[in-house]
């Protein structure tokens, strides 16, 4: 049986549109934004991965890719609030930051093992069925590190400045 909706709240969204589906305070939701986010969020993430991968020769790279992915999470935060962000990302943001930094530094150090200068990069050509020749540059790993770092920072900002301030305000009894 569906829950009975009071007549004065008939136009407020009560379906769980976003992934975790838990959004207790219904008056803060907007249907349009949630629907759009649901469609746009995966698209933005794919686009950010595209930017990450093409960064060696074209505009893009780990930094801009990470920023775009971070924006996707900002959109989710605006649409779904802090519960949604907490539900969408299970891993703690500092771990993402640390992982990114570690990968980046290890990539920088790796050429030294082969006797090359630190931070220098190598390129391999890979033959893939259907896709043709693919050029893989070792600096892609550095970009992956930067990508993770930026995403982690964006998530941490949402957690501490976004959700944190929201929580403080709630504790102080303000209506957001």
């Amino acid at each position: 049986m569906t829950e009975r909706i009071p007549w004065e709240r008939w136009d407020e969204p009560h379906e769980p549109w976003l992934l975790p589906g838990r959004c207790p305070d219904r008056s803060e939701r907007t249907l349009l934004l949630e629907m759009t986010t649901r469609v746009v969020f995966p698209t933005i993430l794919v686009f950010s991965l595209y930017l990450l991968l093409v960064g060696h020769y074209s505009p893009g790279g780990g930094f801009s890719g990470g920023l775009v992915a971070g924006l996707a999470f900002v959109l989710r935060y605006i649409a779904g609030g802090r519960q949604d962000i907490g539900g969408a990302v299970r891993i703690r943001p500092p771990v993402v930051i640390g992982l990114g930094l570690t990968i980046a530094v290890l990539t920088a150090l790796a050429p030294a093992l082969a006797g090359n200068a630190v931070l220098s990069s190598a390129m391999w050509e890979v033959e893939l069925p259907l896709l043709g020749t693919l050029e893989v540059v070792s600096s892609l790993l550095l970009d992956v590190g930067v990508y993770l770092l930026i995403v982690g920072v964006a998530l941490d900002l949402l957690r501490s400045l976004g959700a944190g301030i929201e929580q403080d305000a709630r504790a102080a009894g303000e209506r957001m």
């Binding site: 930094f63 900002l157 501490s160 400045l161 301030i165 403080d168």
Partner: protein, 141 residues
């Protein structure tokens, strides 16, 4: 050596002037805005240091002599990211100050004021510990 045109020099000068004026304010928000504005001025100056505008510095897109100097752009990009990060930090600091103190004003150095107010009678350093109870009340902050 690069010479820049007058209008750009004026814009940079105006940005610095506005920024430093804001830096001298009490409120941390205005200080923050001042830093942002000076940051823009500095980045613009960095761009101008690369010489006159030209084609994008991508090999094959333009002859090398028509390209702009890419180095200042890379430097400016780095500087923008750093300024951006520190702006966020200052915002968080301002918020914290607002939570803890109820305002975001940059205050005087309290201990400094206390030292300045302390009037010591000449050659009487030993008696000084008996006097001035009100100043000693908060001396261990």
């Amino acid at each position: 050596m690069i010479t820049i045109n007058l209008s750009m020099a004026l814009v940079v000068g105006a940005l610095y002037a506005v920024g430093f004026y804001l830096l001298l304010q009490r409120s941390l928000m205005r200080v923050l805005l001042g830093i942002v504005v000076i940051g823009h001025g500095a980045n613009l100056l960095l761009q101008l240091a690369g010489g006159p505008p030209g084609r994008a510095p991508i090999v094959g897109d333009a002859p090398p002599e028509a390209m702009t100097d890419p180095l200042p752009q890379a430097l400016a990009l780095t500087a923008i990211v750093i300024t951006f990060a520190l702006t966020t930090f200052l915002l968080a600091l301002g918020y914290r100050s607002w939570v803890l103190l109820g305002h975001d004003e940059v205050q005087d150095d309290i201990e400094d004021r206390r030292v300045a107010r302390r009037q010591r009678p000449a050659g009487a350093m030993e008696e000084e510990s008996d006097a001035e109870p009100e100043q000693r009340a908060g001396a261990d902050q």
